[in-house]
């Protein structure tokens, strides 16, 4: 009996629909968020993450509606991110039914926002999203830097020390995306994931690069991640959550096997 490793499908939301971009170019419609959330829940997803990729004002209301509808019938933890910048943003998302909010860019321009949000709403609902890229030259030991704006804008901030700082300010979980690996389907950046997981006391969710079930396994076992996030392998039906869990369980990873209704 022990804590299970978590499998978390990620749903990118654009104007109330789930979409999946292929290297930021071609955006494919992947379906209705409520329907997809319900399907993942039935398959045994341990949590769901919704990322609002438009984040314009009108889209925010649509997002609230999506969160509210999902929360009314899917009873597993829901994390919502994308454009979370102010305490009222956090409050609105929690009121709509989110259990956690993911803070990304706002933490960089104003780390105190993480402290305020954790103080007001509790560390358990504050996830910090960190997008990191290896900036070491060839032959040097790896060194990861935070990038914003979809990986285009360097910040000069070293990723692991930054995560430790945000955790000390009250962040309850780290959602770690490798910008080198995101969209490549070649597996997680295992060195980054492992270094991060061993450097912070709170859980680390690995993201970016999943193309196979082996990748999930490696992220959890070699990368020491507490949870793994994936989108395309689940959205397009390459694998179900059950298949992923079956694969992991056979290799000795502890996963939750829910009793299906």
């Amino acid at each position: 009996m022990t804590l299970a490793k978590r499998i978390i499908p990620c749903l990118d939301i654009d104007k109330g629909r789930v979409v999946k971009g292929v290297k930021f170019l071609e955006i494919k419609d992947a379906g209705d968020p409520v329907e997809i959330a319900r399907r993942y829940d039935q398959q045994g997803a341990d949590e769901l993450v919704f990322l609002d990729i438009t984040a314009s004002h009108e889209a925010r209301d649509t997002l609230m509606d999506v969160v509210e509808r999902v929360a009314g019938e899917v009873f597993i933890p829901l994390t919502v991110g994308g454009g979370v910048r102010t305490l009222p943003d956090v409050r609105r998302l929690l009121s709509a039914g989110a259990d956690k909010v993911s803070i990304n860019t706002a933490a960089i321009s104003n780390p105190d926002f993480v402290r305020e949000a954790a103080y007001r709403y509790g560390s358990q609902c504050i996830v910090v999203a960190i997008d990191a890229k290896n900036v070491a030259r060839k032959g040097e030991p790896p060194r990861w830097e935070i990038f914003t704006h979809g990986g285009r804008k360097p910040t000069g901030i070293e990723a692991i020390g930054w995560a430790q700082k945000l955790v000390s300010l009250g962040a309850g979980e780290v959602l770690l995306t490798s910008m080198d690996k995101d969209g490549t389907k070649s597996g997680f950046d295992l060195k980054l994931t492992r270094a991060m997981s061993q450097s912070v006391d709170v859980p680390v969710i690995a993201s970016g690069g999943v193309g196979s079930l082996e990748d999930l396994h490696d992220g959890l076992e070699i990368g020491c991640a507490d949870a793994v996030l994936a989108a395309s392998i689940f959205h397009f039906g390459t694998y179900t959550i059950q298949q992923a869990k079956g694969f992991l369980a056979e290799r000795g990873v502890v996963v939750r096997d829910p009793i299906y209704r």
């Binding site: 009996m1 804590l3 299970a4 341990d46 929360a71 009873f75 933890p77 358990q124």
Partner: protein
């Protein structure tokens, strides 16, 4: 119509627990309230919560909810969830040491740090995610819930009841801790049933049917 009062003292997200209770309710009316008089008239009560116990007890006191809860203990079924389990103990070492509601003799203590675990294995704190609950006794609240079912946890402290007879469920995370406690018509869980999929919903449904007998 039977009424269920969710005690609102300004901490944590009550929408989730209200939504889940409404989802499983047959004809019960689920109400969120901070009015002690209104809550005292409800047929059953839920004490939820997330955050720190010092602030929790201060707010319960400020809103005159602590006395109401103490008076209602033993009169009607009451369920504590997450911080609610901690509030129902006699005392907590969190927030520099806090006197709590005292429904269960015993204390609330912090897990050992990630690098100070009893078996030397590094464990993240908070204990966050899905873990199993061992059913330590037969009880109507466990109806239709498989042994060792998975529930969703998020916490850094755990309760230590003085009376082992009050422990209805246990979970392992470095130590074996009490994850469900039960005494007469008061029962409390460390995990979040409202976020624990089918097992959690079944537990909430069982609570709504429970007449409070042990």
């Amino acid at each position: 119509m039977a009424t269920v009062g969710i005690i609102d003292y300004g901490m944590g997200n009550l929408h989730s627990i209200a939504k889940a209770l409404r989802y499983v309710a047959s004809d019960e009316q689920i109400e969120v309230s901070f009015d002690p008089d209104a809550l005292a008239r409800m047929d059953r009560l839920v004490l939820p919560g997330v955050g720190a116990i010092g602030h929790c007890m201060a707010e319960l006191h400020r809103l005159e909810l602590d006395d109401m809860i103490r008076e209602q203990l033993g009169r009607k079924p009451l369920m504590g969830v997450c911080l609610g389990i901690e509030a129902l103990m006699a005392h907590s070492e969190e927030s520099g040491g806090v006197e709590c509601l005292g429904a269960f003799p015993g204390d609330t203590v912090h897990f050992a740090g990630p690098d100070d675990q009893p078996d030397g294995v590094r464990r993240k704190i908070p204990h966050m995610g899905w873990n199993q609950v061992r059913q330590e006794r037969h009880h109507p609240l466990w109806k239709d819930i498989a042994p060792a079912s998975w529930f969703y946890f998020v916490h850094s402290y755990h309760v230590v009841p003085e009376n082992a007879g009050h422990i209805a469920g246990t979970t392992d995370y470095g130590v074996r801790f009490a994850s469900v406690i039960l005494r007469e018509n008061v029962f409390a869980v460390q995990f979040h049933p409202e976020k624990s999929q089918s097992a959690g919903l079944q537990l909430l449904a069982n609570f709504l049917e429970w007449d409070g007998a042990a």
